[in-house]
C-alpha cells in the first residue's frame, strides 16, 4: 500500500461525555510523545457529566507545536452529532470514520464502522467506544495489532476486552480503508505531556509551595485535583474549605505564620476573594493567586476560554497597594512563572496573580522543561534587635519573623504603625502609604533585571511587523505564523502589572496588530494606556473557543497586508 510522509498530523475524536474522549486525548498525546514527537492536545467539553458533545484534537509534529489544527488528517466520530459537526474539518486526503450504528446519512468516501454493535459484545460498551480511535489511527499509520495491544495494556483497565474490541475495529477499518497510509517520523526526544493546570502547581511546588487552598471552579479545579492527589508524595497540605472567602483568608492566615500558600479560582470565585487580596496588600502577606478565565461575565461559559479578566486581575483589591500580575504564554512558561511569582510574592510581601485561561489550563502539551530554572521563594529575615513588623525601610520591604517568638509580631488590616498597631495619625498614614509605594518601585527595579517580555522572531529585524498578544493566545499566534509562513515578530508581555513599559520603547514605526480573546479589546487598551502604542489593526475572538491555526494565519495575513 502507498504511504505518504507528513510532519504536522492532526486527529480529532468526538463523542458524548461518557465515551472516554478525554482519556483518549491523553493517550494519543502521550503516544506521540513516546515517538519522540511534539504534541498539543485541546479538549472541548461541555459543562455536563453525561451526554452532550465532547471532542479532543491532538496535533503532532517533529518540531515544537503550540496549537491544535483546524484541518484534520483523521476524524473519528463516535456519534451522529460529532459526525455532522466535524465531517467537513478533514484535510483533502483526510480519513473520516463514523459510527455507522448511529449515523444515518454519511458521505460516500467516509468509512462507517458499526462501533456500537462491536462494543455491545462487552460490558460498559459506551465507555469503550473511544478506543476505536486508536484502532483507526494505527490502521492509518500502518502499525500492527501487537503495537495496538501494547498501547492498550499500558493505558487501560479491562485489557482483554479492550484489546478484543480494538482488534475487531482495526480489522474492519483496514479492510475498508482504501487511502494512503501516513508515515510519521520518529523524533529524538521523549518529553512528558502536561496540562497547564499541572504545569502551574508543579512550578509553584518547585518554588516552595507548602499548602494550597481552593474551592472547585472550572477551569481552575484541576489544579486542586492535581495537588490533592499529590498531597502525600509531595509532602504538602491541600484544603477545600467552605467557600472562596475561607480559601483566601485561610491561605493568608497560614502565610502569616510562615507557610508558602497558593489559591486558585475562576472569575466568580476570584471575585469573592477580592476583599482579602486587599487584606494581603495591607498586611503585606505574601500570596500567590491563580485566576483561570472562562468566558464571562457572571457564571458565563464554564468549560470554555476567554481573556475577559485582564482588567479584573489588574485592578484586584480596593485601595492602592503594589501587586504583581503576570500571564504565561506556554506550558513551560506557566511552570517557571508560577515559581517566580511565588518568589516575588515573598520577596515583596504582597499579592502575585497568575492570570491564565482555560485554553492553557486544560490543554496539554509536550513539556520541554529545565527544572533547574525554577525560582525558589525566600524572604527578608529579621535577624536581631527590636522586631517591627512594618519597619520603615528604603526598599519598602520589612523583615519577616514567624511565631513562636519572644518578639511580638502583629499583622494588621487597619492602617498601622511600624509595630503593627492601628493608627489614624496623618503622618503615619502617609509614611505607610509611602512605604508600600516604595515596594512598587522596588518591584519595577527588580523587573528591569527579569525577563518580563517575550519577543519572538526578533531575527526578522526592526522593520518586521509586530503582533502584540499575551497569555495562551501567544501559542495560537506562534503556530499560525509558522503555518502561514508569515514574517512577523511577536511581542508578548509576561508581566502585566507593573507593566514593563520600558521594554516597549524599541517598537515603533512598524505595522502592528493586537490579537486577543476579548470583545472589548482590553489588552489593546492596556497596551495603549501603558506604552502609547496604537496598533493598525486587531484580531479578536470571543466565542469561547481558542483560535484555530489556519483561520488565524489567514486573518493575520489580511491584517498585516
Amino acid at each position: 500500500m502507498d504511504s505518504s510522509k507528513k510532519d504536522i498530523f492532526t486527529i480529532l475524536v468526538g463523542g458524548s461525555a461518557g465515551n472516554g474522549v478525554k482519556k483518549i486525548g491523553a493517550v494519543l498525546s502521550s503516544f506521540f510523545s513516546n515517538m519522540g514527537r511534539y504534541a498539543f492536545e485541546m479538549e472541548d467539553y461541555q459543562s455536563l457529566i453525561k451526554g452532550g458533545h465532547n471532542f479532543c484534537v491532538v496535533s503532532t509534529s517533529t518540531e515544537p507545536i503550540f496549537s491544535h489544527y483546524e484541518k484534520k488528517d483523521v476524524i473519528v466520530a463516535l456519534d451522529e452529532r460529532s459526525y455532522n459537526k466535524h465531517k467537513d474539518e478533514a484535510n483533502k486526503n483526510g480519513v473520516v470514520v463514523y459510527n455507522s450504528d448511529l449515523v444515518k446519512e454519511a458521505e460516500q468516501n467516509h468509512i462507517g464502522i458499526p462501533l456500537t454493535t462491536f462494543g455491545r459484545k462487552y460490558p460498559n460498551p459506551e465507555l469503550r467506544l473511544g478506543i476505536s480511535a486508536l484502532s483507526v489511527l494505527f490502521g492509518v499509520l500502518g502499525l500492527s495489532k501487537d503495537e495496538l495491544a501494547n498501547l492498550i495494556k499500558e493505558n487501560f483497565r479491562d485489557v482483554e476486552n479492550n484489546i478484543s474490541f480494538a482488534n475487531e475495529v482495526y480489522d474492519y477499518f483496514v479492510s475498508h480503508f482504501k487511502g494512503e497510509r501516513i508515515q510519521l517520523d520518529k523524533g529524538n526526544k521523549r518529553m512528558p505531556v502536561v496540562s497547564g493546570n499541572e504545569a502551574i502547581p508543579l512550578g509553584a511546588y518547585a518554588g516552595g509551595l507548602d499548602m494550597f487552598f481552593a474551592y472547585p471552579m472550572t477551569p481552575a479545579s484541576t489544579i486542586l485535583h492535581f495537588l490533592a492527589a499529590h498531597t502525600r508524595d509531595f509532602e504538602i497540605g491541600v484544603m477545600h474549605p467552605e467557600n472562596e472567602i475561607a480559601v483566601i483568608n485561610m491561605a493568608i492566615g497560614a502565610a502569616s505564620v510562615g507557610l508558602k500558600t497558593m489559591v486558585a479560582s475562576s472569575g466568580g470565585g476570584f471575585a469573592l476573594m477580592e476583599e482579602a487580596l486587599s487584606l494581603a496588600g495591607m498586611t503585606e502577606t505574601p500570596i500567590l493567586a491563580v485566576l483561570s478565565s472562562r468566558p464571562g461575565p457572571s457564571t458565563g461559559v464554564p468549560t470554555y476560554t476567554e481573556q475577559g479578566d485582564l482588567y479584573f486581575a489588574l485592578n484586584q483589591g480596593h485601595g492602592e497597594f503594589p501587586k504583581i500580575v503576570a500571564s504565561p504564554g506556554t506550558h513551560e512558561e506557566a511552570f517557571y512563572l508560577a515559581s517566580e511569582l511565588l518568589s516575588l510574592a515573598w520577596e515583596f510581601q504582597t499579592v502575585s496573580i497568575l492570570l491564565t485561561e482555560k485554553h492553557l489550563s486544560e490543554s496539554r502539551k509536550t513539556f520541554e522543561i529545565d527544572l533547574d530554572k525554577a525560582s525558589f521563594a525566600d524572604y527578608f529575615k529579621h535577624t536581631d534587635g527590636e522586631y517591627l513588623r512594618y519597619k520603615l525601610t528604603d526598599s519598602g520591604v520589612s523583615p519577616l519573623l514567624f511565631p513562636p517568638s519572644q518578639s511580638v509580631i502583629k499583622f494588621s488590616s487597619y492602617e498601622h504603625d511600624e509595630y503593627g498597631l492601628s493608627t489614624e495619625d496623618p503622618e503615619m498614614i502617609t509614611k505607610m502609604h509611602d512605604k508600600r509605594f516604595r515596594k512598587y518601585n522596588s518591584i519595577i527595579e527588580k523587573f528591569k533585571n527579569l525577563k518580563t517580555v517575550n519577543i519572538y522572531n526578533s531575527h526578522l529585524g526592526d522593520n518586521a511587523p509586530i503582533i502584540y498578544t499575551y497569555g495562551s493566545t501567544t501559542m495560537s499566534v506562534l503556530e499560525a505564523l509558522k503555518f502561514g509562513k508569515i514574517e512577523a515578530r511577536v511581542v508578548q508581555p509576561i508581566y502585566l502589572e507593573p507593566f514593563p513599559s520600558w521594554e516597549f520603547k524599541q517598537f515603533s514605526g512598524v505595522k502592528s496588530c493586537v490579537i486577543e480573546q476579548s470583545v472589548m479589546g482590553s489588552f489593546e487598551k492596556l497596551l495603549k494606556e501603558k506604552t502609547g502604542i496604537e496598533v493598525n489593526s486587531h484580531i479578536r475572538k470571543y466565542d469561547g473557543r481558542p483560535f484555530e491555526v489556519e483561520s488565524l494565519a489567514k486573518a493575520i495575513k489580511e491584517a498585516l497586508s
Binding site: I245, I252, A254, L259, E275, S407
Partner: protein, 282 residues
C-alpha cells in the same frame, strides 16, 4: 480601666468607659498568665480578631497575631493553626461579625473540629457601626437600621455551634472576671473547637448590666450529650453561664495534615525538584 503591663500595648484604649470589653480584656490577660503557669508560653498563643469594637482587643493585647477582616477571623485562625500546629490560636469575634458576616466560617470550623478558640463578644449590637441589630438581637430590637423594631427572630449561637460539631462550648459574662478567666483557660487548653459566648454589655447602645447582674447563674455541671448541653444552656427566666459541653474528638489539622507540621518540615528545593522529576519521569 486597663493597667500597663507586659500584656498591654501602648495603644490608646478607646472603648467607652464601662464597656464590657474591659472585662474580657482583663480576663484574657489573666488567662494568659494562668496558661503560663500551666506550661503554655505566651509566645505560642496567637490571636486574631474581626472588625468591630471587640476587634480592638487585638491592638491592646501585646501578643502576636493577625488583625483580620470583618467576619473572617475564624478563617484566618484556621489558616494559622494549619500553618503551624504548635501554636494556640484564639479568634476574638463580634456577634455581628461571627453570626452575620462570617457565620459560615464558625459553623465549618465547628464541623471540622478545628483546634482553635473562638471568643465571641456578644453585646447584641453592631457596636462600632453605632448600634444596629445583630443576628442575636431579640425580635423588636430598635436600632438605626430597624427604627420600628427588628422583625426577625434571633439565632441561638450555642445551639448552632453544638449542632455544627463544636467540642467545647461555654458562656461567660464580662463582669464575672474570675469565672471568665477560668473559662478562657479551659477553652484554650481544650484540644478541638472551643466556642465561648461572652455576654458583653455595650454601655452606649445596649446596656445589659442590670439584666445580667440579676439574671445570670452558673450551671453546676458539664453536660454529657449535646442535647443536654443545649438544654442546660437555654436562656429562660435566667441566663445560664459556665462550661456546657466538652468532648474529645480528633482535630482537623491532625487529620488533614496527617500529623505534619508543614512550617517546620517544608522540603528543600532539591527534594522538590527530585519529586517533580519522578512525577514527570525525566
Amino acid at each position: 480601666m486597663s493597667v500597663r503591663d507586659e500584656l498591654t500595648t501602648y495603644e490608646e484604649n478607646t472603648w467607652c468607659p464601662g464597656c464590657g470589653n474591659f472585662g474580657i480584656f482583663t480576663a484574657f490577660k489573666g488567662a494568659i498568665k494562668e496558661l503560663e503557669n500551666r506550661g503554655v508560653k505566651k509566645s505560642h498563643v496567637l490571636i486574631t480578631a474581626g472588625i468591630g469594637c471587640h476587634g480592638k482587643i487585638f491592638d491592646y493585647l501585646n501578643l502576636s497575631g493577625f488583625y483580620s477582616l470583618h467576619g473572617r477571623a475564624v478563617a484566618t485562625a484556621q489558616g494559622m493553626k494549619l500553618g503551624n500546629p504548635d501554636l494556640y490560636v484564639v479568634a476574638f469575634v463580634g456577634d455581628g461579625d461571627a453570626m452575620g458576616e462570617g457565620l459560615e466560617h464558625v459553623l465549618f470550623a465547628a464541623k471540622r473540629n478545628a483546634d482553635i478558640t473562638i471568643i465571641m463578644h456578644n453585646n447584641g449590637v453592631y457596636g462600632l457601626t453605632t448600634g444596629q441589630f445583630t443576628p442575636v438581637s431579640p425580635k423588636g430590637f430598635k436600632g438605626p437600621s430597624t427604627p420600628f423594631g427588628s422583625v426577625e427572630e434571633p439565632l441561638n449561637p450555642i445551639k448552632l455551634v453544638l449542632d455544627a460539631g463544636a467540642t467545647f462550648v461555654a458562656r461567660g459574662y464580662s463582669a464575672k472576671i474570675k469565672e471568665l478567666t477560668n473559662i478562657f483557660v479551659e477553652a484554650i487548653l481544650h484540644k478541638g473547637f472551643s466556642f465561648v459566648d461572652v455576654l458583653q454589655p455595650c454601655v452606649s447602645f445596649n446596656d445589659t448590666y442590670e439584666l445580667y447582674n440579676k439574671n445570670t447563674f452558673f450551671v453546676d455541671k458539664i453536660a454529657t450529650t449535646k442535647e443536654e448541653a443545649i438544654e442546660i444552656s437555654n436562656v429562660q427566666d435566667k441566663i445560664p453561664l459556665g462550661i456546657f459541653y466538652k468532648e474529645d474528638k480528633p482535630v482537623h489539622h491532625e487529620l488533614l495534615l496527617e500529623g505534619k507540621n508543614l512550617f517546620k518540615e517544608s522540603l528543600t528545593k532539591e527534594k522538590r525538584l527530585q519529586k517533580i522529576r519522578e512525577f514527570l519521569n525525566i
